[in-house]
Amino acid sequence: MARFLVRRLMVMVALLFVISLVTFMLFIVVLPNGNPAALLAGHLATPAEVHLISVRYGFDKPVWVQYVKTMANIFDGSAYSYQSGFNVLDEIRAGLPATLSLSLGAGFIWLLTSILVGTLAAIRAGRYTDRVLTLLSMVGVSMPVFFFGAVLIYFAGYKWGIIPLGGYVPWTQSLTGWLWHLVAPWLTLSILFIGIYSRILRSTILDTINEDFVRTAKAKGLSGRKVLLRHVLRNSLIPIISLWGLDLAQVIGGGAILTESVYNLHGVGYLAYQSVSHLDTVTLLSIVMLTALAVVVLGALTEVFYAFLDPRIRLQ
């Protein structure tokens, strides 16, 4: 177990290194002369001013020196964005509450709802309930997030006035305000994942029901519900939980960009999007590293969790 973890850790570090390198190189390639000094200096700057800025910020040093210094700054927490002038860590920290509230809230909502919907569809497989639920899941998967958000904002916000028109209220400020502002974003973000997960769960349950051990449990005389809960679900939920971990990491790291843009929640995803359009390398690098870190860590955690849940894997 320890060797497995150490190996995963090494792979993690290597992966993060490569990701940071690739992102850095992409933006160095993009900026004129690999040099953001021209952007910083503004339209009316003279070449002398641009040169001064280059020297002051160290843009004239070779690329690998810049890379090392940038990464050192990021890990220090002292990196600040050239575009906005703010400390990157502070900006990310400011955006985290909105993103975490959105992602974690939506994550739990979609997990619970998918389990309900998937189980229901599997129990009533082939019948009317199943068909309706499957169709709804398909629609959920086919709907672009921003379209659904716009529709919700228009009907529930403008016409009926039951949800606010966007913005984020921290829960330290007002718990009811926080909830009220997050209901629509949670719903919007969940719809897509509910569609995906409920169908995966449904097919996994249908596969598990045909296994021998379920037949044995029924033959033993266990009630239908006990069989379902204790045997079928325990097995079927394993792939769902592992997928959930990975998806949650992706959503936290910026997969919620669309939702945050539509509802005007200034979270990490929105920050990432802004940094790309402003060609702000440092902020983007930090956020990408954060996401990749989250994905890799959560991936490793879910694998450990997998081994914990399923003794067969442990014995390998």
Binding site: V18, F146, A150, Y158, G253, G255, A272, V276
Partner: protein
Amino acid sequence: MRYFPTGRGPTALAAETLDETLEIEQDFTLGVGPYKLAWLRLRRNRVSLAFGVLFLLIVVLCLLAPVYSHDIANIGPYTQNITGTVKVGGKVEDIVSLIGIPIGPTWQLHHYFLGADDNGRDVAVRLLYGGRNSLEIGAVATLMTMLLATICGLLAGYFRGLTDGIISRVLDVIWAYPAVLLGIVLGTVLEVHGLGPFHGTTLLSTAIVIGFVYVPYVAKPIRAQVLAMRDREFVDAARQQGLSHVRIMTTEILPNLASTIIVFIPLILANAILTEAGLTFLGAGVQPPNPSWGTMISDGISTIPAAFHNVLIPGIMLVLAVLSVNVFGDGLRDALDPRAKIRLGKE
């Protein structure tokens, strides 16, 4: 033909479970190849076929965009007409009112059938042209993803060792980025600077970006399948016969991958269309004034609540197109592999 059960036959109605259906099929389908079998199963699935037809209809409608534009509506997708007026049911109305509110659907085929957007452009014409763009991008992206993913998966699974190590690590790096973020980064890089021969965001560059982002999603299951097939006897037998590696890959392994590939195509197409809309909404995809369902929705959002039809109409078209691809793809998967041996997932 009398061996094959149809949807109305007594056998299909009598079969209660999937197993019974398959057993009965086995009795009836001696000597029928797996693809013929799959086609028969697909034919029985009325819902999937209906949605498949719907998708074809949408495609045909969008391809006929120039016909509609030149012959029926007499207006192009870029023609702005902010100050013009149009006659609706006897009354003369401004296309875009004095405070900037565009007209809603007039339901008159020959002009502004579905209304106008805030620049006075005809929504119906833009919808069809935009559909052409969105579907084109989706198709090219899907083609690219499937080609690259098949090649990568084949090479990685067949040769294993160092090749597999390198390819898998590269795929992991791509996969570690959230898809939308990667799309935006690549899209912005292409737009601002260009990479190699590609400059600016043409439709092609957007398609390539989207195609690139989904390669790991397809390549990993393909690689897993190739790995499993590699150890089987028929590959050994082929090597014994002296067939070259390339020959083995194309003639022995690739045909077995066909089912998986066919099943993935509608899925990736649906994802590509959705991703294009998302990227365009964030400004990293198709640029205005080029129409695409994504640009229309994002333009329309700025005029909520006064002219919601600008958001609703392209949105509904988008949902219908993606939904029909998804449902048809689902039916295809059920037909090709009713026991769902093809695992689609993020392993």
